[in-house]
Symmetry: C2
Subunit: 420 residues, 2 copies
Amino acid sequence: MMNTACKISTFNPISQFFFFTSNPSKSHLGIHQRQVALKSGRACCSSSWNLSCSSRATTVDDAKKTLVIGLGADSGCGKTTFMRRLTSVFGGKAEYLKNGNPDSNTLVSDTTTVICLDDYHLLDREGRKLNGLTALHPKANNFDLMYEQINLLKQGVSVEKPIYNHSTGCLDPPEIIHPPKILIVEGLHPMYDPRVRELLDFSIYLDISDDVKFAWKIQRDMKERGHSLESIVASIKTRKPDFDAFIEPQKQYADAVIQVLPSNLVPNNEDEKKFLKVRLIMKEGIKYFDPVYLFDEGSTISWIPCGRKLTCSYPGIKFAYTPDTYYNNEVSVLEMDGQFDRLHELMYVESNLSNLSTKFYGEATGQMLKNGDFPGSNNGTGLFQTILGLKIRDIHEHIMSEKNNRPTSDITKFLQPAYA
Amino acid sequence: MMNTACKISTFNPISQFFFFTSNPSKSHLGIHQRQVALKSGRACCSSSWNLSCSSRATTVDDAKKTLVIGLGADSGCGKTTFMRRLTSVFGGKAEYLKNGNPDSNTLVSDTTTVICLDDYHLLDREGRKLNGLTALHPKANNFDLMYEQINLLKQGVSVEKPIYNHSTGCLDPPEIIHPPKILIVEGLHPMYDPRVRELLDFSIYLDISDDVKFAWKIQRDMKERGHSLESIVASIKTRKPDFDAFIEPQKQYADAVIQVLPSNLVPNNEDEKKFLKVRLIMKEGIKYFDPVYLFDEGSTISWIPCGRKLTCSYPGIKFAYTPDTYYNNEVSVLEMDGQFDRLHELMYVESNLSNLSTKFYGEATGQMLKNGDFPGSNNGTGLFQTILGLKIRDIHEHIMSEKNNRPTSDITKFLQPAYA
């Protein structure tokens, strides 16, 4: 069966060289891809232009090296909203990369660049169909290239990154990505490959429970896009084995997990999981990442702020905080069940949280209000995304400060491929 | 049937006059007792010496007037321990009244006097038996005299208070009680009579759940005193209707209730209710009494301090705090389940409680340690008794300060019997 959906890439590499490396031949990205035995359509996606990807060194200044954040989740789990909140904390407005492919997945702001790891799909939609693979399967993704390019960006080297076109399902010609201050790599597999995982300065996993995911898909695909219930159920069913095998296990590696569950405040929680219980699971012992806590660090707390001083409407808000273990790691868990009605509730909550890494009193609330039209702004998803944005800014500042206080390193040691 | 157990009192009143009253005849305590139709033995208890009780004014200085605290509970519920903790907070050591009846029930320290309301029994043990009344029944108690004498003490007037001899079950000749700085009236009925209730500047009820009360009685009466299980069960059964009718309803009037329940931390809580859940129910809106709170005033909190910073042994400690309603009153409830093992646990807890009315950091812990050999020192009964001691000291100081800042009142207005 031929892949007729995608045209062969017409992209012509113009800057196909590699800078400052002890073994140029090894750095040729096409050569060092893992060899996978896959049936390809017209080879438009899985071979031709991957070989054409190139990299350029734009800077070798150690102090300017890029902080790399990984964000893992299934599709349709709110990664885009999260990215917008993150970039908002850094002060800029995120926009899709201009002057390139209008179907580019890359968001860029003054300080951050968000790349979508779908761009490292090894197979286009047709190719996946031919091989009977979902996009979730590692064989459908190019981890060698993913590692190579993230590593280069981290060292301050521009790369020409492929584009997976979500509209057409094709692999489009690459776009040039310059190393930002903060690189966020979001997608299905940021923590799957150990080499990529090693590059991450901080990693987050969005863990949406099956119940909630189903409710969200119903809302988006059925009510907004007119899909049938049967097709949604079938799609979930098809993806489930690969999701369980390759995506979900990554959460054990994440420094922070945002877990989204149905609310416990509402009996049976019908009404399409409108009310959510969201948990922020924060790994202990991560440098520059001091977990947020409620009232008393290290103890177990539950807190219903609605009472004499704060009147909340049904079903109210309940917070919890506890130390715990998660995949054999010591973690702190902050939990919010229910939703906010008004500003003063949010301020009241912020005033009782510690280690928020805000620069001034009320900054978290300010961020939430500024992005009040984003989905989840009245519940724990918005709050915890905002908090993680503040924490990442803090980590970035600490690392920059640390780097500025030491002599510039020899760039060559960073450019040695770790897997060579 | 004759009462042969008690001798007729040989007490000869020597100071039978009443000072500063507009109607001397009305103040004669024997006359103004409520008339009760009761069968008496040789009248030794219920009539003869009641008529002989007299009062002396020792001071009329308004600023020195006595603060009156009521403490209600069933017998065997730890009132004596509580009294020792209260007097300890005030700095003195409580001792039984010297130079009088060795069976006196009155505890005296530098600042406080604790009188036992059993001394206002109208009927001795034999008389109660004859009339088929328990000591819990209002008819077995002399509320007129109770009111009259507490009122006088409150105005700074000494009284000659009867003594109920718990050893013999007789009403012994009275003892002279001088007005202290703080008068604590403890017993079965401090809040039963509305006139007496009105005299209380602060009132406390010890509410021991049936389960715990039974376990305590087994411990004391069976294991320590050799009573049979059957006799204990029979005694509880006999007292229960009057307890439910006349004693327990008083808790609705208390400014603070200490409620003692079996622990929820231990499955089924066997082992004779060794582990307790204790709740301190504090009425809102009481002048000079700001309820203690945990972390966030007016919200609902649960807190397990045992965790990373504090390691507690089985079954651990759990605190809770919540606003609530109690007999249609707004209250704040502080709850402690489980028990302390070591000093640093106590300090840690104290550091997270607010409105404790301590004079220095760690004072509550210091008090608990000082009286570490008292029953309940490792659980919520000891902690909450200590806290109420601190609160009462605070109330006393506020009231004294208030009185010192206003002109001395005309004493006569205080000596008008309120029920005349």
